[in-house]
Amino acid sequence: ANDFPIARKSSLQRFLEKRRDRITSRSPYAS
């Protein structure tokens, strides 16, 4: 993770946010 290129941070951020959304929507507790 320390070697992750700074220039890719926006792509990484988007990926992590969408992943969180996908996981949350799969949760049985999701509204």
Partner: protein
């Protein structure tokens, strides 16, 4: 009527449009951006990517050997999450969910680049010709490291289509055979004027 201007925002929208508008089930799309390094050699590096995921996500059974691999992936993801959020540790439950093979392959792709002619994306750019590899056997026996890596992570189809400024790569966990419709879409969506 004018051609699109290349920028990060429209790039993401184009990748999304390409995947979400396709009849086939693509797992991800990446735009490898062409540039020139300090020595004057041409290089393909990460431009942007759109990850959709696969239909059977989460159904795969964990094998004992993949438990330690999962721990490693989760650890890296926690660190990356901290890098983004700016906090030392994360209490985000989503980070501790299983990191699928295709998620990991996509994530690792962000750190990769290809010199002219190397790898499937480099080959497509160098020959100005699309590369379409379908099936586990063909991916596994490819001289390109990226194709073999894709097969290891469960992908069954990998396509690289050259365009202005770079190469569009698509991957799927399903078998998808060559389609002129997809190539036409790439030509329209990624025909930048700068």
């Amino acid at each position: 009527p004018s051609m699109a201007v290349f920028n990060q925002e429209t790039l993401q929208q184009r990748l999304q449009a390409l995947i979400e508008g396709a009849r086939e089930s693509w797992t991800y799309a990446i735009f490898w951006q062409s540039s020139v390094d300090f020595s004057g050699a041409s290089l393909l590096g990460w431009g942007d990517g759109y990850y959709k995921g696969e239909e059977d996500k989460g159904k795969r059974k964990m094998t004992p050997s993949s438990v330690s691999e999962q721990e490693h992936r989760k650890k890296v993801l926690r660190e990356l999450n901290s890098l983004i959020s700016g906090t030392a540790s994360s209490s985000d439950d989503a980070v501790d969910e299983e990191v699928t093979d295709t998620e990991w392959f996509f994530l690792v792709s962000m750190t990769q680049s290809f010199v002219n002619g190397a790898g499937l994306p480099g080959q497509a750019l160098f020959n100005s010709s699309p590369v379409w590899v379908v099936g586990t056997e063909r991916l596994m026996s490819s001289p390109c490291e990226r194709a073999r890596q894709a097969q290891v992570f469960g992908l069954q189809t990998m396509v690289c289509i050259p365009s202005a400024n770079g190469v569009v790569e698509l991957g799927s966990t399903e078998l998808i055979y060559q389609s002129s419709d997809l190539m036409n879409k790439v030509r329209v969506l990624f025909n930048f004027n700068n």
